[in-house]
């Protein structure tokens, strides 16, 4: 009895364990040392950032174009693009402001929209597909979008701007799907990234999903928006993702206005000195 008590008192606390959305321990996503070849024209599965869950969270701008003041990371703004960038009061990047001064629409739980979903919060991402479409389910905000692969062309006249735009995809080889997206929101509620880089309704985004082998995927996103940028530029280049266990349940994640309001009131505003002054 005494020895049992002694053991209990000296026992080390259990090491933290990562759990999925069902509270079950997360299994190793990659099943073997050498992955099998990529299945033909198939992106199905649950993908996560290969370098850890935080690798796809890009608060300071896209992975390959962070807002860090370096010339090589500064997008080629048009005069209008620069004007719009300066009008955006972001919480991150080289021109970050305090919370009380920001005008980031996402801070009020507006949708991230596309391509900010790729460029700010690339977390667990599920792909479902059939012979006509590929559907992407994003963990952040539980958003989804459809990429049509039935051979249709992008609309020449946009019926209505949409947060996640109009997307078509083409297999350029048996392991690479190239997706073109137009018709995204071009108003002040849509930002390209977390640092306030602007977008217009004339933007065209190319995503290149290359399944390197069964367990690995690379994502490249190129921005082409002549109203805001003088030439196309690559925001993320071969961003690595790996296949998650097929029984992994993606954890629910949403921006909830009532919780956000409490957060602002009790934490964010205090931190920004907007109360009690």
């Amino acid at each position: 009895m005494l020895s049992a008590l002694t053991r209990a008192q000296t026992a080390q606390p259990a090491a933290p364990v990562a759990l999925d959305g069902w509270g079950r321990p997360v299994k190793s996503p990659v099943t073997g040392p050498k992955a099998a070849p990529a299945p033909r024209r198939d992106l199905s599965g649950i993908w996560e950032p290969a370098n850890g869950p935080g690798d796809g969270i890009q608060p300071n701008g896209p992975k390959d174009m962070p807002s860090d003041g370096k010339p090589e990371h500064t997008p080629p703004y048009t005069p209008l693009g620069l004007q719009m960038q300066n009008a955006h009061k972001a919480l991150f990047g080289t021109t970050a402001v305090l919370q009380a001064l920001n005008n980031d629409p996402a801070d009020k739980c507006d949708p991230l929209g596309f391509p900010r979903a790729d460029l700010f919060q690339l977390r667990h991402t599920q792909f479902f597909q059939n012979e006509r479409q590929v559907v992407i389910l994003y963990q952040f905000e539980k958003r989804w979008r459809t990429i049509w692969t039935d051979g249709r062309e992008l609309p020449k006249e946009i019926p209505e701007s949409k947060w996640y735009g109009y997307s078509v995809g083409t297999w350029v080889d048996d392991s690479t799907l190239v997706v073109q997206t137009v018709g995204t929101m071009g108003d002040e509620r849509a930002w390209l990234d977390n640092t306030g880089r602007p977008v217009s309704d004339g933007m065209r985004v190319e995503e290149r999903f290359h399944r390197v082998d069964r367990d690995h995927l690379e994502v490249t996103v190129t921005i082409d928006d002549p109203k805001m940028y003088t030439r196309p530029w690559v925001a993320i280049n071969k961003f690595p993702m790996k296949l998650q266990s097929p029984d992994y349940d993606v954890i629910e994640m949403m921006c909830i206005p009532s919780e956000s309001e409490k957060y602002h009131r009790e934490y964010g505003d205090v931190a920004s000195e907007t109360v009690g002054k």
Binding site: G54, P59, V270, A271
Partner: protein, 129 residues
């Protein structure tokens, strides 16, 4: 404000647990970057929410006055990946919390690590799997 500060800078213990970049929903501008405070207190609320969770706890200063600290973590899904959960704290728990405080002197900051009543340390590093 004079509080029971155990250490002003990062403890040797737990340094490896803060090796990932910290991300605050409200940016980094408000924080006294690199500064550390370690506080001992009693949990009053563990708000498990989006966009970010926060931990509130009472700290008694040397004169016996109680200050309620409000300290944030990231969001629930991120904290689960770090081994935290909605059940990590309950009101009344005695905890030791290391934070990065804000610059304005308010009892506010972001959590670097906590030591739970059972001695377990939880930090901001993702759990290896």
């Amino acid at each position: 404000m004079k509080v029971k500060v155990l250490a002003l800078f990062a403890l040797a213990v737990g340094v490896s647990m803060v090796s990932v970049p910290l991300f605050a929903h409200h940016g980094n501008s408000a924080f006294d970057t690199g500064k550390r405070l370690t506080l001992k207190g009693t949990v009053t609320e563990w708000f498990w929410a989006n966009p970010h969770c926060f931990l509130k706890f009472d700290v008694k200063d040397d004169s016996g006055n109680v200050v309620n600290w409000v300290t944030e973590t990231t969001n629930g899904p991120d904290m689960i990946e770090r081994g935290w959960s909605k059940q990590t704290f309950k009101a009344g728990d005695e905890v030791t919390v290391t934070i990065e405080p804000v610059k304005n002197g308010k009892p506010v900051g972001r959590v670097i690590q906590v030591v739970l009543p059972n001695g377990q340390t939880l930090g901001m590093a993702y759990v290896k799997r």
